[in-house]
């Protein structure tokens, strides 16, 4: 049902078919497995760990980018979602591997379960997001994060599952490898990219740009805002679960506002809305913070968060749109040649 009776001939460009793209990403994920073996064999433990952490950082930053950058719902509670995933996955993993489950299969299951529970938390947070804007939303999500923190800190166990209150949860089986983390990173980036750059997903950015106008154009703003929170929280939960299964120990302090702000910093510095920019920021800042950790031996003070804070302030003063703004480093959208004259209007 064309909108107009007679349309102009439109210049068309060939596109890569979808199945080919899907196959490519699948192949890339599978390729991470031998790469992982290679890295394990040739890299020292420290560098291997840093690489794995970079991947998890990408998951966290990209998932928050969907909420903060693309949909424009400034959230300060990402560490809370991460905590839900980390504790769900951690406690189940510890319990069921203890009774003889296969660690790999159990981890796969519980990482996803952790993500799903975090998504439920995202749903609960997303609902107030419908009524709040800007700084109020930021404070409300911060409040949610604090509630999650206080609940975890005050709970010793739920049924047979240990939470560990303030002391934290340890003895989580070590499952996360570079392969797991890289897979999570690829899936997150591809998902968020496809959402952001599809016709349907344009609604997310429209809400960021002007919520009133988006609603007037028939966008169900409620649905998209909550969806952004749910998807973002899911991936944050997955990252949390993988973190727990990497460090083998988690404690409530790890998932407090400072963590949320660190993730926000990645999004803000990379460029709110730019997926590649945020991925780049996640990589660069991870390397930077490792370098600062090494520097601690010289300066005897932890400069890491001071540098983060200064970076945030200076970025806001000099380049508030972040490194990349809303642009991507590369994007394969083929522009059509549309300069032919239009019919008389």
């Amino acid at each position: 049902m064309p909108l107009l009776a007679k349309a102009n001939q439109i210049d068309s460009v060939p596109r890569t078919p979808a199945w080919m793209l899907n196959l490519f990403w699948l192949a890339l994920i599978l390729a991470c497995y031998p790469i992982n073996r290679l890295l394990e064999a040739n890299l020292n433990d420290y560098l291997y760990l840093v690489l794995t952490r970079i991947c998890l950082n990408i998951v966290l930053a990209t998932s928050l980018n969907l909420i903060n950058g693309i949909t424009g719902q400034f959230s300060l509670g990402h560490a809370g979602f991460m905590a839900v995933g980390a504790y769900t996955c951690g406690t189940f993993l510890q319990h069921y591997v203890g009774v003889g489950w296969n660690p790999i299969a159990a981890a796969l299951l519980f990482v996803i379960v952790g993500g799903l529970l975090a998504a439920v938390a995202g749903l609960i947070v997303g609902v107030p997001a419908l009524r709040l804007r800007g700084d109020y939303l930021a404070i409300a999500t911060l409040g949610f994060g604090e509630i999650i923190y206080i609940v975890i800190r005050s709970t010793e166990s739920i049924g047979p599952f240990k939470i560990g209150s303030a002391a934290g949860l340890d003895g989580i089986p070590k499952v996360t490898t570079f392969f797991w983390a890289a897979t999570a990173a690829i899936i997150t980036v591809v998902c968020v990219w496809r959402l952001a750059y599809s016709a349907k997903g344009k609604a997310f950015a429209a809400i960021r740009e002007d919520e009133v106008a988006a609603a007037a154009m028939g966008i169900n703003t409620t649905f998209y805002k909550v969806t952004a929170f749910v998807i973002g929280a899911f991936f944050a939960g997955v990252a949390g679960g993988l973190y727990g299964a990497l460090d083998q120990t988690i404690d409530p302090e790890q998932f407090r506002f400072t963590r949320s702000i660190e993730i926000v910093a990645l999004v803000v510095l990379g460029g709110t809305g730019s997926i590649t920019g945020v991925v780049l920021a996640a990589i660069v800042l991870m390397i930077l913070s490792e370098a600062l950790r090494d520097l601690k031996g010289v300066t005897h003070v932890d400069l890491r968060l001071i540098v983060y804070a200064l970076l945030l302030i200076i970025t806001m003063l000099l380049r508030p749109q972040g490194l990349m703004g809303a642009k991507e480093i590369f994007r394969s959208r083929r522009k059509r040649n549309l300069s032919q004259p239009a019919p008389a209007a």
Binding site: R131, D135, A140, I261, V301, L305, I306, M316, L317
Partner: protein
């Protein structure tokens, strides 16, 4: 009933410090429509500098009352300067930017302050308390009809109330206060009418920071001091400001007292194994107000123009 009165008094005294801090949030929001995220950190710096001042004074063998005065005045001066600098260097260059840009800057400032205080040669991450002799001097109680009130609580009340009285006087009776009211009523018009808005904003930050420093020292007398103490506490005070209706000065007072009482009652009346959850009460309140009546008790409604 006695128990109830006792808890009520404790709750009110906690609420009084929340109210002092909430006033800072509400005044800044009034003139700039900005949530000064770093306000909790000003409070923390107040507590930390109070700690340093009192130790310094005691090392010179100052009597307790004098040491306390030095701590209060000294930290008020430190915080006034800090508040002025935060506004001047971080917020002023961004005047007119989108609110989120300023909010992110405020988060940056707050992270910076936490981690600067976290440095060992400034304070360090270890939680510390005020010297034992100060605590001992203040914890002696006075009994009135079966209700016991410590000297600390009396000081908290007296200081909070007199500071609020002074603030009310400044706002209602001085030229600066008039300018402040004009700016929070309508920023642009006040500027066109010749009000020096920059001066008014600086004064607002200084006043707010002085109140925060007093709250900080008072809490330092009671709790342990850490570089992160300002976050939770600042957030709760912000909840108080929102509960009362952000931008409203009497609202901040009411909100602060209500949060203090609710928290204390939750702490006291919840079964022992749940006491720790009392900390979450303020945040639950926050989410409920934001959902049900975001303008708070004393706030007015505003409709977005389309």
């Amino acid at each position: 009933m006695l128990q109830f009165t006792q808890e009520l008094i404790i709750g009110l005294s906690i609420g009084a410090t929340y109210a002092l801090l909430a006033l800072g949030y509400t005044m800044v929001y009034g003139v700039l429509r900005l949530i000064n995220f770093a306000h909790g950190e000003v409070y923390m710096v107040g507590a930390v500098s109070g700690f340093h001042f009192i130790n310094l004074a005691l090392r010179w063998h100052a009597p307790l009352a004098l040491a306390l005065t030095i701590a209060f005045v000294g930290s008020a001066i430190v915080c006034a300067i800090l508040g002025f600098c935060i506004e001047f260097f971080a917020y002023r260059p961004l005047r007119g930017s989108p609110r989120l840009v300023i909010l992110i800057t405020a988060i940056g400032v707050s992270l910076l302050l936490q981690n600067v205080v976290n440095l060992n040669f400034i304070y360090g991450p270890t939680p510390r308390t005020f010297p034992a002799e100060v605590q001992k001097g203040l914890n002696t109680s006075i009994g009135i009809g079966g209700v016991y009130i410590s000297r600390l609580i009396i000081i908290r009340f007296a200081l909070s109330l007199s500071l609020m009285a002074v603030l009310t006087w400044i706002i209602l009776r001085t030229r600066t206060g008039l300018a402040l009211r004009a700016v929070s009523h309508r920023f642009d018009t006040a500027m066109l009418m010749g009000v020096n808005t920059n001066r008014v904003i600086s004064v607002t930050f200084i006043l707010g920071s002085v109140l925060a420093s007093v709250a900080g020292v008072m809490d330092g007398l009671r709790y342990t001091i850490t570089p992160l103490m300002g976050v939770t506490y600042g957030l709760k005070a912000f909840v108080a400001a929102v509960l009362g209706g952000i931008g409203s000065i009497p609202g901040a007072l009411i909100g602060g007292l209500l949060i203090g009482i609710t928290e204390e009652f939750a702490r006291f009346y919840l079964p022992t194994q749940y006491t720790q959850y009392a900390d979450a009460v303020a945040f639950v309140i926050l989410i409920f107000i934001l959902l049900l009546k975001p303008t708070g008790i004393m706030g007015s409604t505003a409709v977005e123009k389309v």
